[in-house]
């Protein structure tokens, strides 16, 4: 008899979310962004020559009201000791976000730069807000972050949403 193959179970977040909000009385289901194809390009240099940055959904400036938050490029030197994650949707019953390194890898990137595994950490990281408007993301936030990355001569951007 063949050994039973281990099949990992991934939470069906889209279905779970649809049912969750229907149960809250929302009549229209959320429509997730979808693309048939994705632009792809391979860096032309090895990892040790790459400048790396981070794009996060964790909130550095919580005083700005959530509905009006826009993409921001913030010096790594001004990384808050704790981001505000309270308004984001994550599993608040199972885990916590008190360990910044569990979602924002500044220490790891500094270590990799120190070891020469990457060239350096970029001057700035980037905040992208989690709002319902795909238009705001596609037309405003993403281009603003791409422009800032080009200005900072970034080779690799790690998108690490919570």
């Amino acid at each position: 008899m063949k050994d039973q193959e281990f099949v990992p179970y991934f939470v069906p977040y889209m279905e779970r979310t649809r049912l969750f909000y229907r149960a809250q009385g929302f009549e229209k289901d959320y429509v997730w962004a979808h693309f048939e194809a994705t632009p792809f390009s391979k860096p032309e240099k090895p990892l040790e020559d790459c400048v790396v940055t981070v794009v996060t959904t964790a909130v550095a400036h919580p005083k700005i009201p959530k509905p009006t938050r826009k993409a921001e490029s913030i010096p790594f030197a001004e990384t808050p000791a704790q981001f505000d994650t309270s308004e984001l949707s994550w599993d608040k019953e199972t885990t916590h976000t008190e360990d910044r390194q569990s979602y924002f890898p500044l220490e790891v990137l500094n270590k990799l730069a120190g070891q020469g595994i990457i060239k350096s950490v970029s001057k700035r990281f980037h905040f992208v807000p989690t709002q319902y408007s795909q238009g705001a993301t596609i037309n405003d936030d993403a281009p603003a972050i791409a422009k800032a990355c080009r200005n900072d001569e970034v080779d690799i951007a790690l998108l690490i949403p919570l």
Binding site: M14, Q24, T94, T95, Y103
Partner: protein, 100 residues
Amino acid sequence: MDIVTHCKVPRYLHNNLPLGNPLGSPGDRETQMKSVLEALKLAVSSEHSVVQVSDACWKGNDHWKENYNKVDQSNHEELLRLGKENRRKRAENKARGLSR
């Protein structure tokens, strides 16, 4: 996993962990380091769009997979209340011009 693959991104490294700690569980420095290294390696070595599942796993039981945003009779009333509150807040924000 389903949301990111629906959207489609150039490269995706999936850690099968509860939402909130995408790089590794709190305090798990080894997984946090490994996640970043694996992602960077994907960035420089992939020849085409790719989805990779890491071997990171949650140290506790698997109940979180069933419990996240669960809907049942026990939270029916609470969810309706949350929905009302959510819609009230959105309307209030709109009235105050707080939108993009």
